[in-house]
């Protein structure tokens, strides 16, 4: 029983780490309807910049804010160079543009900072949490801290969306871009804001994942883990990303631990997609996605 509890707990915590990446997708999808393939590359770029600044003996918070500034500059550049000429084009074409962007960012990040693997230590120990260990459950402190950070991040984002003027404008754009424009909301400004926020989320995700995996190219592969979360939760919902992350995390661990041994293991890659597919057969727009109404 205790073991079962541990499986679920560590699954939930792993799910939070997936959500951290998925939120970056959701933000951009929500505001500009772009399925941002480059999110992984952004995570890599942000983490690389951050860790290389740290290695140049720049203090933690200074490095953090410098990287944030870099991500904002990047957002402005992306809006100006990529998004603006492609405004009002079908989503799939913007999706393709982000594939190009992903190649570009990978090359840029590694061209500037080099392709060496960097270790990143932000001072959170990755050892079992003592209080729980005495009860027979091994949960890493790092995971708990990561969950805590994710919780703060989501709270801040939700507050931002609901309590600030810019946030409300963002919601308006995601609801109906044309109506939003007609009341004087600048679409370009909104895009810069969302890509910046998404850059910020990428930085946080990059630091958390980079601490665990080391900052290297593989960091951009965490997208694979975020995809089923994103689909299950619905493309437009931050809360959806969190809840789907928890569901996917817990159920994939349960499947791998309790079904895996009987079929030869290695279920972790495809199980989440099956789960999401079954869910979607009942709710075709994810758990919290916006339903498209079809008319002739």
């Amino acid at each position: 029983m205790l073991f079962f509890l541990e499986v679920i707990l560590s699954g939930l915590l792993a799910g939070v780490m997936y959500s951290l990446v998925a939120i970056g997708f959701v933000l951009i999808l929500k505001a500009s309807g772009v399925f941002n393939f480059a999110q992984g590359a952004m995570v890599l770029f942000a983490a690389l910049t951050f860790v290389c600044l740290l290695e140049k003996a720049i203090p933690f918070w200074a490095a953090f804010f410098i990287t944030l500034a870099v991500m904002i500059v990047l957002a402005v550049a992306i809006e100006r160079i990529v998004l603006r000429p492609l405004v009002a084009k079908p989503p799939i074409i913007l999706f393709m543009a982000t594939i190009g962007l992903a190649f570009f960012l990978e090359g840029l990040g590694q061209g500037i900072w080099g392709a060496d693997v960097h270790g990143l230590n932000i001072g959170i120990p990755d050892d079992p949490f003592e209080w729980l260990m005495n009860k027979g459950i091994l949960i890493s402190q790092f995971d708990l801290v990561a969950a805590f950070i994710a919780a703060i991040l989501v709270t801040v984002l939700v507050l931002f969306f609901h309590k600030t003027a810019t946030g409300t404008a963002l919601m308006a754009v995601s609801d109906d871009p044309e109506a939003a424009q007609s009341v004087g909301i600048s679409l370009r400004w909104i895009w810069v804001i969302t890509w910046s926020i998404s850059g910020f989320v990428a930085l946080v995700a990059g630091i958390m994942w980079g601490t665990r995996l080391g900052v290297q190219y593989s960091l951009s592969l965490i997208v694979l883990k975020a995809l089923p979360v994103l689909i299950l939760g619905g493309f437009e919902s931050i809360a959806g990303a969190i809840i789907a992350g928890l569901i996917i995390g817990a159920s994939e661990k349960l499947a791998d631990v309790y079904i895996g041994p009987y079929v030869g293991g290695g279920l972790e890659n495809f199980f989440p997609y099956f789960l999401a597919m079954v869910f979607l057969c009942f709710r075709p727009y994810g758990l919290f996605g916006r339903e498209a109404i079809e008319r002739v």
Partner: protein, 353 residues
């Protein structure tokens, strides 16, 4: 002036429905075929055949398959690489275990892939838009898992690789690059003509109606279930044949890792860059995504020795990504559209009014 449409009078229905109603197009295509069938095999060296032409043709075929699904029927798929794997492994097993003639192996690979593809297409009736990628992603990972875990599929080989047996057609062995190239070329051309006729007939119109307005097409009596599934199976059939060609004519020895998710993304990229809903676009897109990196690599490597090679490699990535964005901005609807525009210009050139 250069590209003339006037002076062509169609007097029969057959002429009206010809694939190339204009003499100029006919001649152009004829010259292209002569180059492909005679000039290239006679003049090209091994590098051009094995590393440029064969992969280019195979990926064009695969892209054509995805274009039928995504470009013509509007269904997004990220499982195309896995369907290619199904084709490759089925063809291998048919050839190694049953010793069937090679073309039948390709056909079998395609059919198997079509069957599995339509199975994973079933959710498309319910799930729409970007959400549909979940079904095809499930296909991608499940197929990879099955091939890795069921040793029987890869011929009980400890090394997990399928090493294709020698090919033979009517007692003549297909061994040299030229022969492999010609075999690929014939398969690609036959399937291209088939696709062209499919998309300009009743089925193609049904697909396009689903793509353009699903509800409306349902109302006028186009069965969504039947045509979506048909699109999935035809698309997977093409993928399967392309996968078999990769195993037999291109690499010769493949592991399942060749057919990773990233390849699915690449092929989707080929469709979009080339132009969705265009046969020509499939070829242009495959050319762009397959050949451009090699070309950039060769050009950039001219600087080897001056610039450190790790920077060069990343420079290649940046140029490639930059070019994708550049071409999308120049013509968001793909290279095929660019070709249409050029044709339009040639119609008036040199005296535009």
């Amino acid at each position: 002036m250069l590209y003339r449409e006037c002076g062509v009078f169609k007097s029969t229905y057959a002429e009206d429905m010809a694939i190339f109603p204009l003499p100029l197009d006919k001649w152009g295509m004829g010259i292209l075929l002569i180059v492909a069938f005679l000039v290239i095999p006679m003049t090209a060296d091994r590098y051009l055949l094995t590393s440029i032409m064969i992969p280019f043709l195979i990926y064009s075929l695969s892209t054509l398959g995805l274009n039928i699904l995504t470009g013509y029927s509007g269904q997004l798929s990220l499982g195309h690489a896995a369907f290619m794997a199904v084709g490759a492994y089925t063809a291998f097993n048919l050839s190694a275990r049953l010793d069937l003639p090679i073309l039948l192996c390709f056909l079998g690979g395609g059919l198997m892939s079509a069957a599995i593809g339509s199975l994973f297409g079933i959710p498309s009736v319910r799930i729409k838009g970007f959400y549909l990628i979940v079904a095809t992603l499930a296909a991608q990972f499940t197929i990879e898992w099955v091939i890795t875990h069921w040793a029987w599929v890869s011929g009980e080989n400890v090394l997990g690789a399928i090493d294709t047996p020698p090919m033979e057609i009517l007692g003549r062995s297909i061994d040299t690059p030229v022969e492999k190239y010609l075999l690929t070329l014939v398969v690609v051309i036959v399937l291209t003509i088939f696709a062209k006729n499919l998309v300009r007939g009743k089925i193609g119109r049904a697909w396009m109606s689903i793509r353009d307005k699903a509800v409306a097409s349902e109302i006028i009596g186009v069965s969504q279930f039947r045509y979506k599934l048909l699109a999935f199976s035809v698309s997977s059939f093409y993928a399967g044949v392309a996968g078999a060609l990769i195993a037999f004519c291109h690499l010769g020895c493949v592991q399942v890792t060749e057919f990773e998710l990233l390849l699915s993304f690449w092929i989707l990229g080929m469709v979009i860059i080339g132009g969705m809903g265009s046969i020509l676009g499939s070829f242009l897109g495959a050319g762009f995504m397959v050949l451009l990196p090699i070309y950039i690599n060769r050009v950039v490597r001219m600087m080897a020795g001056v610039v450190p090679s790790d920077i060069l490699t990343n420079l290649e990535l940046m140029i490639f990504g930059g070019l994708i964005i550049f071409f999308l901005i120049v013509e968001p609807y793909g290279l095929a559209r660019l070709w249409l525009i050029i044709k339009g210009k040639l119609r008036l050139w040199p005296i535009p009014y």
